[in-house]
């Protein structure tokens, strides 16, 4: 299982609390909206990521849980 942070861009109102809590994965753009690192949430940051999701005042942040994808072996790539 892997986790990714996702933001609903319509709901987000640039409160910026997520970036305060989780600067390792979230930084703010020129206008205060979160730019989320394009990586899975490392295990050690998962508690903080859950915190960030729960403190978002507009509930714009979510954790998307996906089953780990097996990498395609090189011979099967086209």
């Amino acid at each position: 299982m892997t986790q990714r942070i996702e933001v609903d861009p319509i709901a987000c109102e640039a409160h910026g609390m997520c970036a305060e809590l989780l600067p390792e994965l979230i930084e703010l753009d020129d206008w205060g909206y979160p730019v989320i690192a394009d990586v899975d949430v490392p295990r050690r940051l998962r508690p903080l990521a859950r915190r960030a999701v729960s403190v978002c005042p507009t509930l714009a942040l979510r954790l998307r849980v996906t089953a780990a994808v097996k990498p395609v072996s090189p011979s099967r790539r086209h």
């Binding site: 609903d8 861009p9 319509i10 709901a11 987000c12 753009d29 020129d30 205060g32 909206y33 730019v35």
Partner: protein
């Protein structure tokens, strides 16, 4: 060039009689057979996203609930004329496609979305619907949905939101409309041209469809050729056709060209000197960072000011944002303002670097692909028109700036300028 959709097209609406005479009757296939032919055909959506139609069909068929089919005929792209042409001249071809798609996914309801200003086109489709025997037994219904004019009015989720809540704004896709659209039921949204291709695939099969175009991008596509050409019109081209051949078919350029805009205001510029290597298909345009989008080739003449044109369209694209997502609202406005400062010679030395950085910040961070398209338009302009942009930044407006009305834009709810 192959004329499939435009085969024997006339100046007025094609009657049902003429339509059947040209293409033959629409055969009654089993739903699975139509879906299988569409899958084998490799048909991709012609609305701009080039998404494989078979994958949308499969998602709708997998989802629970009675589906709805929406044919999207409300192109908001000012440079495109193909939706209007299809609806007003070939309504039965579009309706055939809608019926085939409805049969393939088991949808009892068809909606045909038409821009509210395209009154004549919509009325033509309404008349055509009344002539169709397939719609008389009431098992399948079809009606027009009039959508508000706007660049994003034709966005897939915006049409669904318009039908559902009377607000023509994109929504954040989760779950997708293929799963939860009209009435929270699965919804297949297909561009009008895509539907028209389905009408012919249902008749002639996938192998026939693949005889035109390339292996990667089979079939033909409608391309609106406009700008400084002798015969601006909607042309049907085989995917993979050389850009120069299409230009020659359109009577050639009326002035020496400076650049070509492919894919419209969500597409990108290519330098006129690259025209010889350009082939018109999504796959072959990708390495040039260009796209066919909804099928647009615009010729910018050398006499126009590319800086003024780009700044003006960037401003319009910022205005067309639905105003919902911060990166789009703020990013596109910042980009447009800075480009205008560059044009007037009042920008700082970092201006173009800032514009490119904001393009990177806007793209991919909206609920819909509008900021991505606007960023693609602007970054390609910075790449192709770098000399002119630097000139303006240093010396201010050029003589041609005041004539910056080559590219058409419209006010919300107003006709194309």
């Amino acid at each position: 060039m192959a004329a499939r959709l435009l085969h024997r097209v006339q100046a007025g609406p094609t009657t049902l009689e003429d339509h059947v005479c040209t293409h033959g009757p629409l055969p009654a296939h089993r739903p699975t057979a139509v879906a299988a032919e569409i899958e084998r055909s490799g048909l991709r959506g012609r609305g701009g996203g080039a998404f494989p139609l078979a994958r949308k069909l499969a998602a709708v068929r997998r989802a629970r609930g009675r589906p709805t089919v929406i044919v999207n005929g409300c192109e908001g792209e000012p440079l495109s004329s193909k939706d209007g042409l299809l609806l007003s001249l070939l309504p039965h071809l579009v309706i055939d496609g809608a019926l085939s798609l409805a049969s393939a996914v088991g949808a009892p309801e068809i909606l045909i979305a038409v821009d509210e200003l395209e009154v004549r086109a919509g009325e033509t489709v309404e008349r055509a619907l009344r002539q169709r025997p397939e719609l008389r037994d009431g098992r399948t219904t079809a009606q027009i949905v009039w959508t508000p004019t706007g660049y994003l009015g034709g966005q897939e989720t915006a049409i669904v939101q318009w039908c559902e809540q009377g607000v023509a704004k994109p929504r954040f896709e989760s779950p997708r409309v293929t799963e939860r659209g009209i009435g929270r039921r699965p919804t297949l949204v297909s561009n009008a041209e895509t539907a028209a291709h389905v009408a012919l695939i249902a008749r002639h099969g996938a192998a026939w469809f693949r005889q035109a175009g390339t292996d990667n991008d089979p079939g033909t596509a409608l391309v609106t050729v406009c700008g400084a050409v002798a015969a601006p019109a909607v042309y049907e081209v085989d995917h993979g056709l050389a850009l120069n051949v299409l230009l020659a078919d359109a009577g050639g350029c009326t002035e020496p060209p400076r650049a070509f805009l492919l894919g419209g205001y969500g597409g990108g510029w290519i330098d006129a000197s690259d025209a010889e290597v350009v082939r018109l298909s999504p796959r072959e345009l990708a390495p040039l960072r260009a796209r066919l989008g909804p099928g647009i080739l615009y010729v910018l003449p050398d006499s126009a000011c590319p800086v003024a044109e780009t700044a003006r369209v960037a401003g319009w694209l910022a205005d067309q944002s639905s105003g919902q997502c911060g990166p789009c609202v703020n990013g596109l406005a910042a980009i447009a303002n800075e480009l205008e400062r560059v044009r007037s010679g009042s920008a700082g030395r970092q201006a173009l670097a800032d514009v490119l950085r904001w393009c990177g910040l806007a793209a991919g961070r909206g609920a819909c692909a509008h900021p991505d398209g606007a960023a693609s338009f602007v970054t390609s302009a910075v790449r192709v028109f770098r000399d002119e942009l630097s000139d303006h930044a240093r010396h201010g407006p050029c003589d041609a700036c005041q004539w910056a009305t080559a590219l058409p834009i419209y006010d919300r709810g107003a006709a194309i300028a």
